[in-house]
């Protein structure tokens, strides 16, 4: 890969990644935010590719784009509609921005300060095999610990996903109150807008 092609790829991918990341913060709609996140993830996957890490790139797409983002979308769809607004985060984001800025500066400082031993020779051709072998041969213990941890997480998730009756009761009570007071609801306002006004999230999750 010549320098020009490399630079072209790097800068466009970097722009894609960072642009997507900023749009996550800016967009008010959580679903939009997830879609920008996906764009950012794809940019990162592309960056991996420019570093000849094709296995990592593909795994990035497989896991983050294909799985994690879908998981996030599911989580959003399962959230009550009122809590799906991204706008409050912007208002209370001052201190958070400060923290993020500090982290970013320190990371940048470390990145610039470190003497990166650039790989000049040809890229590894069989990374998947190497990664697999090192996982199974050299790092078998951490690998197994990770597996056990994930299994535990899976079981825990199922246990947590069981319905919490108290929450439901509170929610039901508030809805009932709303319904009781609904005698005076102006039917003109109720026809149609509930969906139209709330934009595309009709309720439901299968």
């Amino acid at each position: 890969m010549s320098d020009f092609g490399f630079h072209l790829a790097f800068w466009s991918l970097a722009a894609m990644t960072l642009g997507g990341a900023s749009m996550i913060i800016i967009s008010r709609n959580l679903i939009h935010a997830v879609i920008w996140l996906v764009m950012s993830m794809l940019g990162i996957a592309g960056l991996y590719l420019t570093l000849s890490a094709d296995f990592i790139a593909v795994v990035q797409v497989l896991i983050y784009v294909g799985a994690i983002s879908v998981l996030m979308l599911f989580a959003i769809m399962l959230t009550p509609r009122a809590e799906r607004d991204n706008s409050q985060n912007i208002k209370t984001g001052g201190p958070a921005a400060l923290v993020v800025l500090l982290v970013m500066i320190s990371t940048l400082w470390v990145a610039i300060d470190t003497d990166w031993g650039a790989v000049r020779e040809a890229a590894l051709t069989d990374q998947a095999r190497l990664i697999g072998e090192s996982l199974i041969k050299h790092y078998i213990l951490p690998f197994e610990i990770g597996a056990v941890l994930l299994t535990a997480a899976l079981v825990g998730a199922i246990a947590l996903a069981r319905q919490d009756d108290e929450d439901a009761a509170v929610h039901a009570a508030s809805l009932q109150a709303e319904l009781d007071g609904e005698g005076s609801v102006d039917p003109v306002n109720v026809v149609d807008p509930p969906i139209a006004a709330e934009a595309p999230d009709s309720e439901a999750a299968s």
């Binding site: 009550p80 809805l175 609801v185 026809v191 509930p194 309720e203 999750a205």
Partner: protein, 386 residues
């Protein structure tokens, strides 16, 4: 789209779901009036929790033409074409039921040849109607139109026979008070013979294709179940009732047009689920073919229309005549005040009354089950709304 009572309904559903410990919000989904599986302008409003149907409410009337009122201003003969439009997939049966009621009012004896022809066309209509019902039912189960097209072949042949007899395919207007409008054309009997010769093979094809189809079993077995007690209490009739195991067939119980002279059997199901309805219809087609065979073999000669004045004025009185239409008990209740037109013209629509139990059958199942159940009831919206 959402209306005020939709919203209220949804909220009520939410509250119910939350208090019963299942925390998801219900959705109201309209199946119809324009929807691929409602077979007409029929609207089923289902409240869904995820995919589970919590409530099913039907909204009908999109095809309401007020036929019962219109019929009060037409003479008895002029009303016959209306009956075609009531159940346009079984026009012959409707013609027949109405003519039987009018004949009862007028006290007319129908010649034997006309009776046999009536039986012939009523049974042909049953074959055609069941072909349509079973085909669309499999379509509602998600098949990609193939069984439907297979069954349309048979229906097509029946409709061809209608066409050569009375010139119309769908809205036949063939029966008359006192008989039938035309005698059988010469080419009909050979056509019918070849039809009867081909059908057993066809039915064997369908059985091979559908009856042992595991996916069809999975979709239709144990779905839309109704008990025989509930079926009787809900006034269900036709294959829906017989699928529950109740052997009630008006052709046997109250023979008309000389059905008592023909040998046939009444198939009944066991579970009362959608698959049994499908099987009962399949078996009924076979029985109809049996009847047709006998009709062809014993077709009497003679006049095909009794001498009935076109301007018939029945004595004041009333009549309730019913036939076993492909969809169930189809009755016509006529009241005469001695005038030229019926004073009251009422049709007992099997499609509408069979829908009574739709909610019972579909609540608790999934959305897909509700569609299959609706398909298995075999509705004709023209008959529901009239």
């Amino acid at each position: 789209m959402t209306t005020a009572d939709d919203t209220q309904l949804a909220m009520q559903g939410t509250i119910e779901a939350l208090t019963t410990g299942d925390g998801s919000e219900p959705v109201v989904v309209n199946l119809g009036p324009q929807h691929p599986s409602t077979h007409g302008v029929f609207r089923l409003k289902v409240t869904l929790d995820g995919e589970i149907v919590q409530d099913a409410e039907m909204r009908i009337g999109y095809l309401h033409r007020s036929m019962e009122k219109l019929a009060e201003e037409r003479t008895y003969t002029q009303n016959i074409p209306f009956t075609d439009r009531i159940d346009y997939l079984a026009a012959m049966s409707n013609n027949l039921a109405y003519c039987l009621a009018a004949e009862e009012l007028l006290g007319i004896e129908v010649p034997p040849r006309a009776q046999a022809i009536r039986v012939m066309f009523a049974e042909l209509q049953r074959v055609a109607s069941h072909a349509m019902a079973n085909g669309t039912f499999i379509n509602d189960c998600g098949a990609w139109h193939t069984p439907l097209f297979y069954m349309f072949r048979d229906r097509e042949r029946v409709l061809d026979m209608f066409e050569m007899t009375c010139g119309a395919r769908l809205t036949t207007n063939y029966m008359r008070i006192g008989g039938v409008a035309f005698d059988l054309p010469d080419e009909l009997l050979p056509t019918l013979e070849s039809f009867l010769a081909d059908m057993p093979d066809r039915i064997a094809d369908y059985e091979a294709l559908l009856m042992e189809n595991e996916i069809l079993h999975a979709r239709a077995r144990g779905v839309g179940v109704i008990s025989p007690e509930m079926a009787i209490n809900s006034s269900l009739s036709g294959p829906v009732l017989r699928a529950t195991g109740v052997p009630w067939d008006l052709r046997k119980a109250n023979p008309y047009c000389g059905y008592e002279n023909y040998e046939f059997d009444v198939p009944v199901g066991e579970q009362g689920d959608c698959f049994d309805r499908f099987l009962v219809r399949m078996a009924e087609v076979k029985e109809s073919l049996k009847i047709l065979r006998q009709v062809v073999d014993t077709l009497p000669d003679g006049p095909w229309l009794a001498d009935v004045p076109l301007h018939a004025r029945p004595e004041p009185g009333e009549a309730y005549a019913r036939v076993e239409s492909p969809r169930g008990e189809l009755g016509f209740y006529l009241v005469s005040d001695g005038g030229p037109a019926p004073y009251r013209f009422h049709c007992r629509p099997p499609s509408l009354i069979n829908l009574t139990a739709l909610k019972e059958m579909s609540v608790g199942g999934t959305l897909a089950d509700a569609i299959v159940t609706l398909g298995s009831i075999d509705i004709v919206v023209g008959e529901i709304d009239r």
